[in-house]
């Protein structure tokens, strides 16, 4: 087999190996999968408690509530993304591997997303009915959260890579990542709002898709650089 093919094969093999390894760790502890969903559930409940149970007003605010809580849930799990690897030394191993760190990190991020944002998007209709989101908007909610949570996970991973060497870096992570999440929030919630009004959903979803593609292309580079920097610090 020509050398280039061999190298390419190893890269995707390495990608899948990293992906499966991280996926197995996630799947091994069901609480890690369940907790973000429970968080989502409970925080969504806080909104009617804070705003009052009036169904009319709740359903008006539902797109924003659901999207903000999804964002918060994403922030919470982002902090854990590279933490265990950093602590047990496997992050250093990753840096020493012959494959680009960006690609291997992407594999981890992808596995992480499947266990967090992806799941959240799929169960979101259950919580959407609790805050009175009109049924016609449910499919758009799911799609917007699928695309959006991918963006949020990727951006959150950049933040996690930057703060993994800092003790109690969770709050700092939120501080540096929230401004970067704003476009995702705007595009995602606007898509759902438009769906409730039978408006132009497609352009918002297209923007979300564009963000997702851009994040897929660019975030791994930042993540790779940030991981090496974090290893220098800690």
């Amino acid at each position: 087999m020509p050398a280039a093919d061999q190298a390419a094969l190893s890269l995707s093999a390495a990608f899948f190996r990293q992906f499966l390894r991280h996926g197995k760790t996630l799947a091994a502890s069901p609480s890690d999968l369940l907790n973000p969903l429970l968080f989502f559930f409970m925080v969504v409940t806080l909104f009617p408690l804070g705003l009052g149970p009036d169904p009319e007003r709740l359903s008006q605010m539902a797109p924003g509530i659901l999207w903000v809580v999804a964002l918060l849930a994403s922030l919470m799990v982002s902090g854990k993304l590279f933490a265990s690897d950093f602590e047990d030394g496997s992050l250093e191993q990753l840096c020493l591997a012959p494959h680009p760190l960006a690609i291997l990190a992407l594999a981890e991020v992808f596995a992480h997303w499947l266990g967090t944002g992806f799941l959240l998007a799929l169960v979101s209709p259950l919580f959407a009915v609790m805050v009175g989101l009109p049924t016609q908007a449910l499919p758009v909610l799911v799609v917007s959260l699928l695309l959006g949570s991918l963006c949020l996970t990727l951006i959150g991973a950049v933040g996690s890579a930057l703060t993994v060497s800092i003790r109690r870096g969770g709050l700092l992570l939120s501080l540096i990542i929230i401004p970067l999440h704003v476009p995702v929030l705007i595009f995602g919630s606007s898509a759902v709002v438009e769906a409730t009004r039978d408006g132009n959903v497609a352009s918002w979803l297209a923007l979300l898709a564009a963000l997702a593609l851009a994040s897929l292309a660019l975030a791994p580079l930042a993540i790779g650089a940030a991981l090496r920097i974090s290893l220098d610090n800690g």
Binding site: L172, P179, P183, S230, D232
Partner: protein, 245 residues
């Protein structure tokens, strides 16, 4: 030209050059600020719609413009530091961050004060102010990240990465907030409309913008000199400057 840029990288040379630069640019900037403020406050005519409260524009807009430009300067310095490993660029980036943050804060506070007589409330979520607020958070994030890292060399690299990520995002953020605003606002009310600005108001505004750029340059260079002295406090050029040896 290239030798000049090369010399900028040398700490003692930059320290001396910066000192000379500040020595003449600081008074010039102060004069420009005073003239511009006087012109805007007392000479220019009031606005047709807003009356005299519009005079805040002469500090709000320059602060906002330079705050945004400052973020790009900071990110550029970070990029130079990352790519070519030039220590002076690190120091420039670290010096620019707090200045940009303060300028963004000025833009926000003056924007809020301007809002009260104009629209009746201290805070209005219009597209421009909201974007400014997010810029403020971006600045704070860079400053907070630097403080959190123990290894300061790694801290500079981390902040460079973060400012670059922020730079890519800023146009996206501004555009998305723009669209957010037009999606949600009731069709009739427009909080900040584009209005043609008269020449008699434009000139003092431009003068103040130039003055604020000068202010940015002066304060960043001053901050850099402070950092250089501390960083190289054991070297002979610093000891000479301090007055012994």
């Amino acid at each position: 030209m290239w030798s000049f840029i090369h010399k900028l990288g040398s700490p003692p040379w930059f320290f001396r050059f910066g000192g000379n630069l500040v020595r003449w640019l600081l008074p010039v900037t102060l004069i420009l600020l005073l003239v511009g403020a006087f012109w805007g406050l007392l000479v220019a005519p009031p606005d047709f719609r807003q009356g005299n409260s519009y005079r805040i524009i002469y500090i709000h807009v320059p602060a906002a413009v330079v705050a945004l430009a400052g973020y790009y300067v900071m990110a550029l310095a970070g990029a130079i530091s990352l790519i070519w490993r030039i220590k002076m660029a690190d120091i420039a980036m670290k010096a620019a961050a707090p200045v940009g943050a303060v300028l963004t804060g000025i833009a926000l506070v003056t924007g809020a004060i301007w809002g009260k007589p104009t629209w009746g409330t201290w805070w209005v979520w219009d597209a421009r102010i909201t974007s400014m607020l997010i810029l403020f958070f971006l600045y704070l994030g860079v400053v907070a990240l630097f403080e959190a890292y123990e290894n300061k060399a790694a801290a500079a690299k981390a902040c460079a990465v973060l400012s670059l990520v922020g730079t890519v995002n800023i146009p996206i953020i501004y555009k998305s907030v723009d669209w957010w605003y037009s999606l949600h606002q009731p069709a009739s009310i427009k909080f900040t409309g584009e209005s043609a600005i008269d020449a008699s108001m434009m000139y003092p505004l431009l003068l103040m913008i130039v003055a604020f750029y000068g202010l940015f340059a002066v304060t960043v260079v001053m901050n850099m000199r402070v950092e250089l002295i501390w960083h190289h406090r054991q070297s002979s050029w610093v000891r000479q400057w301090a007055g012994f040896e």
